[in-house]
Subunit: 271 residues, 2 copies
């Protein structure tokens, strides 16, 4: 490939350090277009904006055009980029670099991953990249280098339809990172609670907080904690095949109701 | 089971007709608690509110207590219900009835399904129910009856950990519904575009719209179009196992960089 066309988005917003560091590094690889939210969008899940009109604005950094800022989610940004803003289909989408890990079941909450999911749905090979560091002083430089290297491989080899790569990088100096591990999505989870408080008007309100509970062994969370970059291939074939078979033996007749006879219940078993 | 405790939430909001019809029907089955968004939340994906404090308010319908309204998403509502509002763990969660189908890849956008996903994560057997009708005059009564019947079966048989049921009901009178079919999630999709318009201040804005493209054969979308209720068991094991193996043969060395020797790349192949 001569000059790959790279689309970059994120969920921390176009003003964030993570996206700027990523773009700087990816510009060594090809032509970069940035389309990203104009505000922080964390934990939006795979939201699409349907109730308000979307607007696109030029965003400058250091008096230079940096990219397009959108009043929407990462999924909106990627869809707008591909369908409206860019005159071509990007060769790859890199979403990130997120401030904080995106692992285990938290993937379903992740705006960073949802940007990559949208890319995948649009047929663009897509990679989500997150740095395991919430601090405002987080150093994204090692993560950006790994993102570039992984993007190079994706550009060379492609990804199967419907599969994206979810990458997490430990909060370590480049030379301290122990390597890359290809691992499954973990089963660790947040044991959430709500902190109940009272505001100055004496109204009760709640903040979400919790503890992270590690489960299993060789997963994204485990290798990340051990100082490795984790790569997990993600798909969205959500059908539980085992339960599909089991369900076909269930009885959906309404036993309590006198009206059951009139209800059409020729449950299909052949499908 | 004597008197099952049923949690109901949705994404159309606590004011919607779909949730009221559902609650009326499920009250024939057991004790119902309602915790639902105070505004319409469609297409929020699996969002959790972390940036603003959550508030819980009593909501009345016909001068009678109906449930708790929350300034959050369906996932927020279910988590708040289970962790904060209810003094017990519900025996089942029913999320819906949504105004409009939730099928195929659209599941990842769906607030209705994300409510059920949150329930599943919290260990509550969960069912998402949607009616294939966007019209304000939609009749939810047949869908509510099917929801009750399916909830009865779930209460009797349980669901495996991590699996929820996604139910879609056609927009037909009860006697016209041809039955229930247990089917996989489809691969149909929206071919989206943006409608570009100019506001009175001469600023450009964009509305999302598109055409639905049917793919495959015996899926949620297909049986729904044929007049059947679809039931699809959904899980969140997102690892693509085939690609996991493939990825372990990729070469993540940075070939272009002179610094490659200093980069730690002992890629694990044993995991």
């Amino acid at each position: 490939m001569s000059q790959p066309r790279i689309l970059v988005s994120n969920d921390d917003g176009i003003f964030s350090k993570g996206i700027r560091t990523l773009v700087e590094e990816l510009e060594k690889l090809g032509h970069v277009d940035v389309v990203a939210p104009n505000t922080q969008q964390s934990a939006v899940g795979h939201a699409l904006t349907v109730a308000v009109p979307l607007r696109i604005e030029r965003h400058e950094h250091n008096n230079k055009f940096f990219g397009w800022a959108v009043n929407g989610t990462p999924a909106d940004c990627v869809k707008l980029a591909a369908r409206q803003i860019l005159p071509y289909k990007p060769d790859i989408l890199v979403s990130g670099i997120n401030h904080g890990r995106n692992t285990a079941i938290s993937l379903v909450y992740s705006g960073t991953v949802s940007g990559a999911t949208e890319g995948t749905m649009l047929g663009i090979p897509s990679v989500a990249v997150s740095l395991d560091d919430f601090s405002p002083e987080a150093d994204f430089s090692a993560a950006a280098k790994f993102a570039k290297r992984i993007a190079e491989q994706v550009l060379e080899r492609g990804l199967p339809p419907g599969v994206l790569l979810n990458v997490n990088v430990p909060a370590l100096a480049e030379e301290e990172i122990r390597g890359i591990r290809v691992v499954p999505q973990g089963e660790s989870y947040w044991d959430d609670r709500y902190d109940e408080r009272v505001d100055p008007m004496e109204r009760t309100y709640y903040w979400l907080h919790g503890d992270y509970v590690m489960v299993g062994e060789e997963s994204d969370d485990h290798v990340l904690n051990d100082g490795f970059v984790s790569i997990t291939p993600i798909h969205y074939r959500l059908t539980d095949e085992e339960m599909l078979l089991e369900l076909r033996s269930w009885d959906f007749q309404d036993s309590n109701s006198s009206s059951s006879k009139s209800l059409p219940l020729d449950i299909s078993r052949e499908g």
